[in-house]
Subunit: 476 residues, 2 copies
């Protein structure tokens, strides 16, 4: 039954095997593109809806912008075009004619946002503008790794405009916090908030922040970013407002994004050698009912109970599936374990007689995760169990993260620590330092965590005095 | 205060004025493209979510397919490529290099769906496949009319595969019915289900069905289509399954789509000279609270009541807005009327004293739509009022539709009836007939309604005997 490579043997192959066997996604006929299959997309939709709720609770509204951007727009912000030019998909023919000005398929929407905001924003009364877009963007990419590296990827991009830099920076931090909380509270995924190095800033930003999460192979994944764009785009696109003092001022803008990489991270943080393990809040199926019987007489009694439980759980708003396929219970157990369903509900002839069911937790293997409970009160019991499972998945991930970050003070210690984990190292915010780490150790400065004591440190690369330490790791 | 052109004066200009003044959408810097602003997008999201619920209730699941399709795919189905070639946007450059094979930005996804289904479907046990996509597609178009005519448009496209033609046809009709019900029950919009003429079939379909709705200017709008693709795409892409009898057979496929034209239709069916009128089930704001006061003492008493009512309604799940802007009540009344909010709740000093509020219905102008009710029980009263408003909007639209369809039996009658309404006319299903109607009268065969008695008619154009009548009208 071993359909997937063990994690310890080849983590990367394990990831691809899980995606395939859990029926999450497939390769598209265009290089770099994937098709997200219904099970994978249902997971994405659940994550999207929970994040969208957080956006709306913090005063944001959604809108829709076109996928095409005139090539000339990208050239208005110098660093932006430099950063994105090599990755563009360009439409040169439309309606059978060669276009006078080629159109870029958006790699991100700051430029067209800037163009429209310049028209919409007149006065301080129009600020802040707090808009989010759910869409897909294209950045040319020939290698494909589902969700982690794709040419077209689905994401959300938030774009806001403010009267002061203080307001803009508060927004940057607010949204970074929203991403962090989405990870912790919806996806049971810990991450570390911090500021990106100068070298790793978004093209056109004056400051980029990120949350970094530790995957099951101890590599780091940038799970979301939130950018302070200063007045760079406001000046490039003339986004101005008339202030209370009757003078015209440039706005301060931000942007922030989280893509379906987050879904890839979810797989890599929680998955095990039996497949996916999904946190209940985002799982497409939270509980699956598997009937167990040997003959027709048993079947009809068992199925009657299963059907009744199914209707009860469904009516209570639990995402429940009744597995009526003509397969063995063993096949079904493996299948739903592979798909990461948090709770399996087994109903056999004894359960019919005893008004009980057997519950099996996906997050705890074998007997430890199994319990026998009455059919009455199953809804409440499941709800409590979902909370437990969420907490247990989070604790496992957080323990793992904590155990694999080492504080270091020398280059040698950094080198050793990042062979198999993360290092927290005093580091200068200098592109030359980033480059050296990448070239010599194949590691990167992930971020300077916000939550750390300042100190009188010495950069482990340059020896220069620094006030902060950085997380350094091999990364996706 | 007349910000918009009267409907009776220039319907087309009225439509554009409403879109602008209700802050629904704006023109993008790329010809043919629009930006949907937050208020317009909130309406689209509400419509989308209600339709999506109907899809899921009928057993469908969502997935995501790439926006890029290899040019060669389109060429595999002869009529399909013929139909879509003139409308394609083509990516010829990617990552700085000229592509060996150009990529088409999807105009619709039948071809890439066909390619993937051929890999996924092996056995009769895999059928039916019932997948829906929410995305945007591109069909080259230089003229722009927000929601009605845009180069990129948002829509959903359903794609299903079945073992028999009977199953496929049942799906075609099931989804046409879902669209019809979405119109009637969610959007208070009547429409007529029928079969498209041969001439108007989707490129590659063996049969196309539609729902046709009457706009406020009596022109017809094809609000959604559902296609029987026969085995055309199955044969072009080798979508085959092994049947119970152990022989390999081609699948039967369908596709069906509804775009943001439906939102445009909603505006044109319900709107009046004061602006939008939105059915409560899809309205972004279902009720707006407008405080009325003359001085600070009144203000604090009035605002306390407004705030309490706002929290009560919000907690009950009503989409409510409290308008705290520093504008006059009259300005606010006009503004929310323009935006089509179904119910306005006015709270003044007398209401504070009497524990009452004034309710004003958007669907009934002036005093007829106004009532004074107690603050207690407002939630239940509003819910009932929403149902009333929905029913009243539907009745107005249906009465209008019925009053403006004329049964005709001669070409002269057809000509006269379609000057200012629809005709129901005996008509041959012959492309030459469709062409003649278009050229001579600038009208089109909308569909052959399913719900009509068969008869021994004579085609009003050719005089040939026919069994069915067609709806004929000027159309969007």
């Amino acid at each position: 039954m071993a359909k997937i490579t063990p994690r310890s043997q080849d983590f990367s192959q394990w990831y691809l095997d899980v995606i395939r066997e859990a029926d999450m996604a497939d390769y598209a006929p265009v290089r770099g593109c994937i098709v997200v299959k219904p099970y994978g997309w249902a997971l994405y939709e659940n994550m999207r809806d929970l994040l969208d709720k957080r956006f709306k609770e913090t005063g944001h509204v959604n809108a829709a912008f076109p996928m095409f951007i005139p090539m000339s727009f990208l050239q208005k912000e110098a660093k932006h075009v430099e950063g994105f030019s090599p990755e563009l998909a360009v439409v040169t023919v439309g309606g059978g004619e060669i276009l006078e000005e080629p159109l870029v398929v958006r790699p991100t929407s700051e430029t067209i946002i800037g163009y429209m905001y310049a028209q919409w924003i007149k006065s301080y009364r129009d600020l802040p503008v707090l808009i989010n877009l759910w869409n897909s963007v294209v950045r040319w990419e020939k290698r494909t790794k589902p969700f982690l590296r794709t040419m077209e990827f689905y994401w959300q991009e938030g774009h806001t405009a403010h009267a002061t830099h203080e307001d803009a920076w508060a927004e940057v931090m607010r949204m970074l916090d929203v991403y962090h909380k989405h990870g912790v509270e919806d996806c049971a995924m810990p991450s570390i908030k911090g500021r990106k190095s100068i070298n790793e800033r978004f093209a056109g930003a004056v400051n980029t922040t990120s949350i970094e999460a530790m995957m099951g192979d101890k590599r780091a994944l940038q799970a979301a970013t939130s950018h302070d764009l200063g007045q760079n785009f406001a000046k490039a696109f003339e986004i101005k407002y008339l202030d209370r003092d009757n003078t015209e001022k440039y706005c301060w803008t931000t942007s922030w994004g989280l893509s379906w990489r987050f879904l890839g991270a979810l797989i890599m943080v929680h998955g095990d050698d039996q497949g996916l393990r999904l946190p209940p809040k985002v799982a497409p199926i939270q509980a699956v009912i598997v009937p167990i019987f040997k003959n027709d007489a048993e079947k009809s009694a068992v199925m009657a109970v299963c059907e009744r439980l199914f209707q009860t759980l469904k009516a209570a708003g639990i995402r429940v599936k009744l597995d009526e396929r003509e397969e063995t219970p063993g096949f079904k157990f493996n299948d739903w374990e592979m798909r990461g369903v948090p709770v399996r509900i087994e109903v056999g002839p004894k359960d019919v007689a005893n008004h009980s069911v057997a519950l099996a937790r996906r997050d705890m293997p074998g007997k430890a995760g199994k319990s026998f409970v009455p059919q009455d009160g199953l809804v409440e019991r499941l709800r409590a169990l979902f909370d437990d499972i969420h907490a247990s998945l989070y604790k496992q991930a957080e323990d793992f993260q904590r155990a694999n970050i080492r504080e270091v003070n020398t280059y040698e210690e950094l080198k050793e620590a990042t062979q198999d984990g993360w290092a927290l190292a005093p580091l200068a915010d200098d592109p030359a330092v980033d480059t050296r780490l990448k070239e010599e150790l194949q590691v990167t400065n992930r971020n300077f965590p916000f939550d750390q004591p300042e100190g009188d440190w010495k950069c482990v690369v340059t020896g220069r005095p620094v006030r902060e330490r950085a997380l350094v790791a091999k990364a996706y």
